[in-house]
Amino acid sequence: MSRMHLELADGKTKYLPGETIEGVAFWELATTPEFLEVRLYWRTQGKGTVDLEIVRNLKFTQVGLQDRRPFRLEVPAAPYSVSGKLISIVWGVELVSEPEGEAANIDVVISPTGEEVRLDRTPAK
């Protein structure tokens, strides 16, 4: 049975634009992959079509069945993590083995305040 795991430095999951996401990718796979990749991406969730964009990626080649690799990904300026009633933009860090497509994921928050921007709440007067 395969196991894949991501650990972010200090367990941090909230980042400011321009910061660096640091972590370690671990895996124990049943079949030797061609490569593994850590991806920083955002996806939409909500009522409409799901959009997704991979913003940063780091490829690990010549990897074994069982290994661990540190990674660093620079957080882009935008878009921010945001949620309204119709749409959310959710950021994630994903570890994927190719070509099997097995994956591990951690959702993270990216915004100037370190908190998800909420559009579904009335601002305080």
Binding site: Q45, G46, K47, G48, T49, V50, S83, G84, K85, L86, I87, S88, V90, R118, D120
Partner: protein
């Protein structure tokens, strides 16, 4: 409620797979073989034609075919110039075309398409009406099916959602019914 917490958000709804009302997947694939692997999935809007087509793909792969997807809809009702010629030129003998929305093609275009597709091992199309190819399966819906899908999406919890009225309001279109539930949940909290 945040969009990402809404149980009826698109990614959750898309996780619900097609439920064969009668028979088995193997039986359906045997029927496809009996039809010369050229057949249509027919049914009204929101009755699961696209989902069924998607769910056939891995099963066709398991039988040694290579599914080749094509899609037209009201937003993209025709192929880009030259795209079909390139597609036909790339077809291999084990390729099986899964063409969602084939009825967007007019009859002349369909006739050309049907001829061009003969190099493939098979062709399955979806449409609202029978006639272009022999029907492999006619998709249909019911209030009970809608209720079952809602329970699956909500993980077994089935609050009072007046499923039958919802089903009738949308004329049996499950996609639209589930979209309304998204709105209801978004507005409720």
């Amino acid at each position: 409620m945040r969009a990402r917490d809404n149980p009826f958000r698109t990614e959750q709804v898309l996780r619900v797979r097609y439920r064969l009302a009668l028979g088995t997947w193997d039986g359906l694939l045997d029927r496809l073989d009996a039809l010369g692997r050229r057949a249509a999935i027919v049914g009204p809007q929101g009755s699961g034609k696209t989902t069924l087509l998607e769910d056939l793909a891995p099963r066709l792969r398991a039988r040694g075919f290579t599914p080749r997807d094509l899609r037209l809809d009201t937003e993209t009702p025709r192929f880009e110039p030259g795209a079909l010629d390139r597609f036909f030129a790339s077809l291999g003998p084990r390729d099986l075309i899964l063409f969602d929305g084939a009825e967007q093609l007019g009859w002349l275009a369909w006739s050309r398409f049907e001829r061009g597709s003969r190099a493939a091992a098979g062709l399955i199309i979806t449409g609202h009406r029978p006639g272009r190819l022999p029907s492999l399966l006619e998709t249909s819906t019911s209030p009970e099916l809608l209720e079952g899908l809602i329970e699956e999406i909500l993980g077994g919890r089935a609050p009072e959602l007046r499923t039958r009225a919802l089903f009738e309001k949308h004329g049996g279109n499950l996609r639209e019914a589930l979209r309304e539930l998204y709105d209801r949940f978004a507005a409720a909290t």
